[in-house]
Each structure stands twice: as C-alpha cells, then as structure tokens.
C-alpha cells in the first residue's frame, strides 16, 4: 500500500499547481465538500510535504527517467502509457481506494504527493519494482481508463462551464467594485509624486485582507520628505502614527508605518524596503516622536538602522547582546537556548 502511495506521489511534481487549478475549478463547479475534504487531507500532510517535495523532485531528476518526465508534466496529462505504468498503477490503486467524491485526479494526485513525502524515500527505486506484479498491472490499467474517462468528462464539463468560468474569471480579474479607499490611495500617490519626488512611490496597492488599507511602498531616500508630507499636507494630515513594524523577508527587509488622520479616518500603511546587508531606513522620529521606541525595538530585534533617530540603542535585549534575534537567519549563540 505504502509503496503504491509513494509511487503515486512521485508522479506530479506540481501538486501545488494542480491544487490551485483544482481549487479554481472547484470554486466554479466542483463539489464543495470534496474540496474541503481534500483540502483537509492536503493540509494535514502539508508540513511533511514541503521538505518532501524537494527530495521527491531531486530524486526524480536523478532517478528513473519515467519519474522525471512525470514530474515535468502538468497534473492532468494524458497518461504516458509506457513510463506511466508503475506510477499510474499506484495512482490507480490509490484512486480506487479513495474513490468517493472525486474532484479530479490532480487534487488527489497532489494529495498523494503530499501524503507520501514523509515516506518519499526510495520512490524512484520503488517505481521500478512494482511493475512486476501482473494483477496489479491489470488493476492499474482499469483505473487508468476510469481516470481517463473522468478527465474527459471533466474536460467536457469544463468546456461547458468554461464560458461561465471564463466570464467569472474575467470578472474576478478586474478589481471587484473599486474599493472606497481607492481615491485616498490615488490622492496620496499623486501628492507624493508631485510634491516629494516623481520616483518616490514604488508601488501603491489596496490591501483587501486588511479592510482595504491603502498601502504605499516609498523609496527609502524620499521617506523623510514623504513623512512630512503625510503629516502636514491638509488633505492627508496623518498626525497619528499608530504602529511601526519591521519584517525580515529573506531577500530584503521592510519597515511598515501605519498612520492615520483621526478626523477624517484616512489611513495609510507605508512600507519602506531596504536590503539585508546594511539595512537602513531614515528615522521618522523628527516627524512623529511616537516612532521613538518602536524604531528602537526594530533596531534591536532586526538590526535595521534608523539614521536620524536621537537615541538608537537596544531596548529589549541586554545592551551587550550580539545579533538580532528576530532575523530569519539568527542563530542563538547559546545552543541550549
């Protein structure tokens, strides 16, 4: 059993893509409970999947050619008869097992891939062994045909729903009714471009996950002027700085300032990006004195310098601490901690 499962997992190397496609399909037409069920299964297996997937792909790349080509193909391919046999046999088995509420092979395949990663050792090797069993081969072929049939049906349904889906997709592709905060965003970007510097704004988006918070990415060298503009311009007037967060994305670092105008409730999240080797963001303390301790905290825990800060010292860690604990690559000096 486990071998078959493993073989099934080795097949599609893009379970994510598969899952996303399936999810998209499911949204438009698939059975909801199947999605949830699959999602549940996938997610349960997800943590193992991460580490496993790499090993799977690596092993596939190095191992049997069949597995390799398998990996390369998208999740709903025409099963390649010869090379697929062992893997698809396994897949068929697994499918046979998990027959109810099929949402498409891709999902389950992705499932299988996820499920197996922990035990993904020696998959490619296993792929070779299973072909020997004739009974299993027969079962595999049958399942394969069933799968092919199901795929065809789905393709037909997809085509039918394709029009609707395409329509919905198109609708989803445009911004759904523009957010009421869009004018705020536009105005701020306009003012920043004209009054600070035409290149000051790198990006300007509406963050739908956060009540449509207008989010602007400002270049670090224009930040002091931009901050003054945000606070003093009568249309913006954001005098209240409520939070400063530092985030360590592994490629760069970011400092996010959340400001709001208490009278008009106009609010912005301003992000300033900086690189990791010498992270430095001009301090906002001259504009909002309330940035004092938050910036010190970011300096202490992430190592971002804030030129212009009146008192940039460590605040939470002891003064003689080495390193910046909140960084992703932080290694505690004391291994027992």
């Amino acid at each position: 059993m486990s071998e078959e499962q493993k073989r099934e997992e080795s097949r599609p190397a893009e379970p994510e893509a598969a899952r996303r496609e399936d999810a998209a399909e499911a949204r438009t037409g698939g059975p909801a409970d199947a999605r949830v069920e699959n999602a549940g299964e996938e997610k349960r297996d997800e943590p193992a999947a991460e580490g496993g997937r790499e090993t799977v792909t690596a092993r596939e790349a190095s191992g049997g050619g069949s597995a390799g080509t398998e990996a390369g193909q998208p999740a709903q391919p025409q099963p390649d008869a010869a090379s697929d046999q062992p893997a698809s046999a396994a897949g068929a088995e697994a499918e046979g097992k998990a027959a109810p509420a099929g949402d498409g092979d891709g999902a389950r395949a992705g499932d299988g891939a996820d499920a197996g990663t922990g035990k993904s050792g020696g998959e490619a090797a296993d792929a070779g062994k299973a072909a020997v069993d004739p009974e299993r081969e027969a079962k595999i072929r049958a399942a394969q045909e069933a799968r092919a049939a199901r795929l065809a049906a789905k393709a037909a349904a997809g085509a039918a729903a394709g029009g609707a889906a395409a329509g919905k997709d198109a609708a989803a592709a445009e911004p759904k009714p523009p957010s009421p905060k869009q004018p705020w965003l536009d105005e701020a970007v306009e003012l920043l471009k004209t009054e600070v510097h035409p290149e000051a704004v790198e990006e300007a988006t509406i963050n739908a996950l956060s009540d449509d918070m207008p989010t602007i990415v400002v270049k670090a060298e224009h930040w002091p002027a931009a901050a003054k503009l945000l606070r003093d311009h009568e249309k913006l007037g954001c005098r209240y700085l409520r939070n400063v967060t530092g985030v360590d994305y592994e490629t760069h670092m970011e400092v996010v300032y959340f400001v709001i105008n208490m009278e008009t409730k106009r609010e912005y999240a301003i992000k300033i990006r900086t690189d990791r080797e010498h992270p430095s963001v001009p301090s906002a303390v001259p504009v909002w004195p309330g940035a004092d301790w938050p910036e010190r905290e970011i300096y202490d825990l992430l190592g971002i310098e804030f030129p212009g800060h009146p008192n940039l010292r460590r605040i939470l860690m002891p003064d003689d601490w080495v390193g910046h604990p909140l960084r992703k690559d932080y290694v505690p000096l004391d291994p027992e901690v």
């Binding site: 009540d211 209240y240 409520r242 967060t245 909002w288 860690m317």
Partner: protein, 366 residues
C-alpha cells in the same frame, strides 16, 4: 569642600511601585528629577519570534501572557486578525460571549489599576476593596473557561467554551453590585483632599503632544481627544450597543483617574445591554477549516484594550504559522513619553505619574 552632586538612583527593577520589572534610572538633584530613563526588557520572552514557529491556535496562550491583566482582549486581537484575513464569520452567541468577557475584563483591569494606584499613593485599603470585587469577576471567568488569569478562551472563529447554565444570570447580578461599589469608592477616594493634592495638575500634557507621541487609550482621551476604537473603528458587535466615551479636559493624572472610573461605569452599561440581548442558543464556533491557514498577505487590526490601542500585524505566507507576527502593545507606546513627563518632578510625583500611565510590563516587553 562642600559641593552638591547629582544623585543617580535606580528605581527598580525590584520596587513596590513599578508595576512589574521596570527600571527607571533617575538623576536627582535633591528631590527633583533632572533626567529619567526607563530601562525595559526584563520580561522580554520573545513572543514574536516564538510565534513564527507555532500555528495560530498555539499562539493564543502566548497572547494571554502579554498583558496578563487583560488577557481576553489579547486573545481577541489575534483571533480577530486571523478571522479578518480568512473572512471567517463568527456566530452571534460567540460574539456576545466575546464582548461580555472583554468588558468584564476591562472592569477587572481597571480595578487592579485603581487599587494599585492608590496603594502607590499610600492608601492601603482601596487595594483590598478592588481585589475583592475583582475576585467576583475572576470567579466568573473561572467558571467559564477554567482559568483565573490566563484564559486561552478564544479561538479563531469563536470561543472555546460555551457559557454554563446560569452564568449569564451571575453576570447580570454582578452589574448592580459593582455599580454600588463604584459609588462607595467614589465617595471614599475621589473627593479626598490628600488624594486630590497628589494627583491634580500632575503629569500634564496636551492633545498635540499626545497625538504626536502615539499615545492611546485613556492617556490620549484625558487630553480631550475623543478617540476610542470601539466607536471609531468598531469591531466585534460594539456598534450595537449604546455607551459613552468619557473624555478628559486637562490631561493630568486626576483626569486619567476619573476617566478610568467612568470607563468602568460605561462597561457596566454595555454589559447590561449585552446580557439582555444575549442569544439563548447558538453556536460558539464558526466554520473554520481544520488547519488554519490564512491566505498570503498581511493585515493590521486594532482593538481598544483597557490600556490603549492593541494591534496585531500579521504577515502570512499562506502557511499555518505566521511569517511575521507583531503586536502593537499600548503600554510600550505609552511608556515612551515617560522621560519627557518626569523632568522637573519629584520622586513622589514619579510614582503618581507612572501609576497614571497604567502599564503592564508583560505587555511592554512582549
């Protein structure tokens, strides 16, 4: 040769009045403070770093321990942030339960503040009266979720435990009892000459300063700025209830004192309405996937905790653990103005001002 020197005095970290392990390095000239520098970090436990390797439900007990006197609001801010990112709807009964416990928690937190503030000022008895009343609230919580201080009560999508039968009636009975106690406390303390002398006109600042320094909660409202997140950025079901937001005038310690007492009254008012409208049946958990995995993106939510604006900024990469979780703690932001307030004051006023800011070190250090 006689010469005067400045005295360098360490207030804390072990000190009866610093409300936790806070150290203030004070340069004194006689009894007048020339410079005061708060030193924090004695209670830093790395909650934000730990959160990066735990899933959201596992982080909830950690939030309890941040502002440990007001744990329900901490629980709520995390659950609220995740629910907002995932678009989860919380059922009615759970919303009501959440609101009721948050308001009870506000009353308990303000009672602790009242008792300890007066203890700092030298009055020994109000501390015991406040804790006697807080016992009643804490017993209610004990019955509801099994814990007296660190509740771990809320979950993403609802609450963990439903109210046992009779619990709402106990809350209902508590309200008139507390109102009467508040009247007694007002008579005992608010008009007391010595007390007034200690807090009136002390630690004054104006609205401009408060907004520029990012203060929140009572520290902001005492200057006249009417900014309460329960009204200005409503969350939970606060917009269904009628209550006032008390606002001060002078920005001194006395106003902060009066505002907190009035906030207890307003909380009792909200509780009265909530208990009347409490749905008699309903779910306590919404539809939540088994593994909580917010979509990729970030969000910043904020609520009105008893100490000010408590915020939660989550950056998620679509996994079960947050990529970055940052708590905007009100005590941390409120405390940064302390050096400015203390210059020129005496030691006794240091205690009065520090008490008036109402900090909890678990929150300052996170």
């Amino acid at each position: 040769m006689i010469r005067t020197e400045e005295l360098l005095l360490n207030v804390g970290p072990q000190h009866p009045s610093t409300h936790g392990v806070l150290r203030i390095v004070v340069k004194l000239d006689g009894e007048v403070i020339k410079e005061a520098t708060p030193v924090i970090g004695y209670l830093h436990r790395g909650t934000e770093k730990l959160a990066e390797s735990l899933n959201y439900t596992q982080i909830i007990p950690y939030t309890d321990r941040m502002d440990y006197l007001s744990a329900m609001t901490n629980n709520y801010v995390l659950c609220y942030a995740v629910e907002k990112m995932m678009g989860i709807e919380v059922p009615e009964r759970a919303q009501f339960l959440r609101l009721i416990v948050m308001e009870l928690q506000r009353i308990a937190s303000h009672l602790v503040w009242w008792g300890t503030y007066l203890l700092d000022l030298g009055a020994l008895s109000p501390f015991l009266f406040a804790f006697k009343d807080r016992e009643k609230i804490v017993d209610l919580f004990n019955e509801l979720c099994g814990a007296r201080l660190t509740y771990n009560y809320m979950r993403v999508g609802g609450v963990k435990w439903d109210a046992p039968p009779g619990w709402i009636d106990k809350v209902r009975d508590f309200i008139p009892y507390m109102e009467k106690q508040l009247q007694d406390y007002d008579r005992l303390v608010t008009g007391n000459e010595i007390f007034l002398n200690r807090v009136k006109g002390i630690g004054k600042y104006d609205a401009e300063t408060a907004i520029a320094w990012g203060l929140s909660g009572v520290n902001l409202r005492c200057t006249g700025v009417k900014w309460d997140l329960r009204k200005d950025e409503p969350y939970c079901i606060y917009d269904r209830f009628e209550f006032d937001v008390p606002v001060g005038k002078n920005g001194d310690c006395y106003d902060r004192y009066l505002l907190r007492i009035e906030e207890i009254r307003q909380s009792l008012r909200i509780l009265k309405q909530a208990v009347e409208q409490f749905p008699s049946s309903g779910e306590t958990m919404g539809k939540v996937p088994r593994v909580i995995r917010p979509p990729e993106g970030e969000t910043y939510v904020r609520i009105e905790a008893p100490r000010g604006e408590l915020g939660c900024h989550i950056v998620s990469k679509g996994k079960a653990e947050p990529y970055r979780l940052k708590f905007r703690r009100p005590s941390f932001n409120n405390l940064q103005m302390l050096p400015k307030l203390l210059v020129g004051e005496t030691m006794s006023n240091l205690i009065a001002i520090l008490g008036g800011v109402d900090i909890v070190l678990g929150e300052v250090d996170c």
